[in-house]
């Protein structure tokens, strides 16, 4: 508290500094990540081609899974580590669909259709469990994962081939019982969604080159912004600064893409799995729409305060179960997308990757256990994977020793996640302080 009165110019300067500061504070994690990724990229000596190829693949693999975590956060259930169960369900269905010999897009659609009821049942059971362990969802989710792993092994190691008949020498072990450790989806579901055309003998279908895809997306975004500005209520419209920034960004992206096309760079070899991206975009739109429905509103209500929601007559337990069911189904679909892109998976281990990394990506995007948006999910996936692509090479270049590079990468990767989370927490404290003043 200052007792000396301030002059006008001082006040104005302070105001401007405060707004610059608040911008930095608000975006400090993103800014830090951009700087880090840029430095890492420079250090790694990577070509843009390699980087873009990898990030396109990783984005289309993982974005949907990260989106699956949003709904439980909305319903106040924190990070849903039980999506591992959804992934197991997806693997189970994929194994059967592969056994039946379905391939390509039809196979993917069939898998998604079949996995939905299974994941919904698992979601219902998990949700019921969480309702009986309110406040201990995290440890319950963790132990549930181990429990489900046991059931999964029981079914696929002991029952399939024996009690559940399945006769397929590439899937079942030679003893006749138990599924092999690796399932190869080549000539099956692999790229079923990414390159749907290959199934019908046309590789080009729904696979534009990256520059063209960027131009297309930029145009779509611009149109979207215009429509948004025209349709929504005044107070929700974007500000002029935001519009100008968006305009510059989109224009630059288009200009860069045109350059790439003209120069016939390697970038033109990278192809965007358009259908997958459409599915992800559909999920985003769906989530946005969902959050404005009655059920979505109920989830947000329950998420803020279970007691208040209950007094208002909302069936809290039912809403929580619905949230887990939706999350579980989305996770199962997301894992199918993941598997069809990867192409081979380890029967008893692939689902392990799902929980922790998706959660980390979401958190890095700026989400907290209490608040997560689509933007957080997409930004987080992008930043997280950028770092993971750039870091190994950067570590190697920095130390000139592959092993040391790897150790350093893991240190940086985990350290960055830790620092990011710390910065989010710190940011909140800073913001709370500035609100108070």
């Amino acid at each position: 508290m200052q007792s000396r009165p301030m002059t006008t110019s001082e006040t104005m300067l302070q105001g401007r500094m405060a707004s610059a500061r608040s911008f930095l504070v608000r975006n400090m994690v993103t800014i830090m990540f951009l700087v880090l990724s840029a430095v890492g990229y420079k250090l790694s000596g990577m070509t843009p081609f390699l980087f873009l190829m990898d990030i396109v693949a990783r984005l289309s693999r993982n974005a949907f899974l990260v989106l699956a975590l949003i709904i439980p956060v909305m319903a106040g259930m924190g990070l849903n580590f039980s999506i591992v169960l959804g992934a197991m369900a997806a693997q189970a269905i994929v194994i059967f669909v592969t056994h039946w010999g379905f391939a390509g897009l039809p196979g993917i659609l069939l898998s998604m259709a079949l996995v939905t009821p299974l994941a919904a049942i698992l979601g219902y059971l998990t949700g019921s469990l969480f309702n009986r362990t309110k406040g201990q969802e995290m440890i319950a989710g963790l132990i549930l994962g181990y429990f489900a792993q046991g059931i999964y092994e029981l079914v696929f190691l002991q029952l399939v081939g024996g009690i559940i008949p399945m006769d397929n020498s590439t899937i079942i072990m030679s003893s006749g019982v138990g599924v092999r450790t690796t399932i190869d989806l080549t000539n099956g579901l692999k790229y079923g969604l990414d390159w749907p055309g290959q199934y019908w003998g046309n590789d080009l279908l729904l696979r534009p080159t990256l520059p063209w895809a960027i131009i297309g997306m930029a145009v779509a975004l611009a149109v979207g912004i215009v429509i948004y500005q025209l349709r929504v209520d005044k107070r929700q419209r974007l500000g002029s600064t935001q519009l100008v920034l968006a305009g510059i960004g989109l224009a630059w992206a288009c200009w860069w893409s045109v350059q790439q096309i003209q120069a016939r760079t390697q970038i033109n070899w990278i192809r965007v799995p358009l259908l997958t991206w459409l599915v992800i975009a559909g999920a985003c739109v769906g989530l946005h729409f969902f959050s404005r429905t009655k059920l979505g509103q109920d989830m947000r209500s329950v998420g803020q305060d279970r007691h208040v929601a209950a007094v208002a007559g909302i069936d809290v337990n039912r809403v929580r179960i619905a949230a887990i069911i939706l999350s579980m189904v989305m996770a199962a679909w997301g894992h199918i997308i993941f598997l069809q892109n990867i192409g081979t998976f380890s029967t008893y281990g692939s689902h392990e990757q799902v929980g922790l990394y998706s959660a980390a990506a979401l958190l890095i995007g700026g989400a907290t256990v209490a608040r997560a948006t689509i933007g957080h999910a997409l930004l987080g996936t992008l930043l997280f994977h950028t770092l993971f692509i750039v870091a190994p090479a950067a570590g190697r270049q920095l130390f000139g020793d592959a092993q040391i590079g790897e150790y350093f990468r893991v240190f940086v990767a985990y350290g960055i996640i830790g620092i990011t989370l710390a910065m989010h927490a710190w940011k909140q404290i800073l913001q709370r302080r500035s609100v108070d003043q």
Partner: protein
């Protein structure tokens, strides 16, 4: 630690898990397993983990929640252990250390690291109130990774620890050479029938628990638990909350360092590299299964959790194996299903908030 509060902490969930433990023991006897040996192993395992689980207590009590970053303390302990071994090698021929002396030196060397790291870590956790658990997890992972660099680069010369081919310290370092393996376990160990009681180990754990009990009743201890349970009340009472949280973190880190040395002497090897990565999860699971929450923990939670969780881990596998002797792989599968199923069931019986 009064009997009354001990009983109160044994709520329904705990009773179910305890009943399951007893059932496993009965099954072990019925299946004619070497029950005395199982009890011996259980006692040793409980003793090994006792101090590591205890490390969760000051963390929870001071308000930072279960310390997923106890791996920081663990690497400090390992560093102390390595330093002691290195010292013994360098001074070979000048001073001959007895195993006990060496163990003591390991502890002494790990303490400055643990204190320093604990203060820094506590400082970090004070910046991020409300998100400690998630951050601690990743800080823990991160420190384990950076220590891998240290294991490769630190100038240790003791050939007992060296890789057979290249530079650096090997993944598992045998303590038997210097007589440190089972040092505490064998101290005053005696037999009741076939059961071997690792007296020294259990006494050490009991001593640690007793000291913690005393500490919690000291002025600092009271201030720390006040800061943990209601920070605003604590501030109003003239307690510097951040300082108390740092004290809690330092204590937890130090206990982690001491705990890993006790663990390692019983196991017989120092485990470096990936070894400490997931140890915090076991300790956290144990204290939570003992009935603690992220905000509240007592000494009885630590004891109950350690005995039940680690006891079950020891007995469950052989029992499951014996049950399914004729059915390959079923032992481990049924262990996973039944053990985790029972814990889940117990959690549901707690009924949530």
């Amino acid at each position: 630690m009064q009997d009354k509060s001990f009983l109160k902490d044994m709520d329904l969930a705990r009773l179910i898990i305890a009943a399951f433990f007893i059932l496993l023991c009965v099954a072990a006897i019925a299946l004619r397993l070497d029950f005395a040996e199982l009890i011996t192993s259980s006692l040793a395992r409980i003793g090994m983990w006792g101090v590591l689980v205890l490390a969760m207590l000051p963390a929870i009590v001071s308000g930072i929640g279960p310390n997923f970053g106890v791996s920081l303390g663990i690497v400090c302990g390992l560093l102390g252990g390595l330093t002691a071994l290195e010292l013994a090698y360098r001074l070979e021929g000048i001073v001959a250390f007895s195993p006990g002396m060496l163990f003591f030196i390991a502890m002494v060397f790990s303490l400055p690291f643990a204190l320093l790291v604990g203060v820094g870590y506590g400082w970090l956790l004070n910046r991020v109130k409300g998100s400690e658990m998630m951050i601690a997890t990743y800080v823990g992972f991160s420190i384990v990774s950076i220590m891998k660099l240290a294991w490769v680069f630190l100038p240790f010369k003791n050939p007992e620890m060296a890789w057979p081919i290249g530079r650096g310290v090997r993944v598992q370092i045998a303590l038997a050479n210097r007589g440190m393996a089972q040092l505490l376990n064998n101290f005053l160990a005696f037999r009741i029938g076939e059961v071997v009681v690792p007296t020294g180990l259990l006494l050490t754990v009991a001593l640690a628990i007793f000291l913690m009990w005393l500490f919690l009743r000291s002025r600092t201890g009271m201030a720390m638990s006040t800061a943990g349970s209601n920070p605003r009340f604590a501030e109003a009472s003239g307690i510097t909350v951040n300082r108390q949280r740092i004290i809690g973190t330092v204590l937890s880190t130090v206990l982690g360092a001491v705990g890993i040395l006790i663990y390692s002497q019983s196991y017989g090897f120092l485990q470096l590299y990936e070894g400490p990565m997931f140890m915090p999860f076991v300790a956290v699971a144990a204290v939570l299964i003992g009935g603690a929450s992220v905000k509240k923990a007592t000494i009885s939670h630590v004891i109950i959790g350690t005995v039940l969780f680690l006891g079950i881990q020891v007995v469950a596998v052989p029992v499951a194996n014996a049950f399914t002797a004729e059915w390959s792989s079923m032992g481990e599968i049924s262990r996973k299903i039944i053990q985790n199923g029972v814990i889940l069931y117990a959690l549901t019986q707690a009924g949530g908030e």
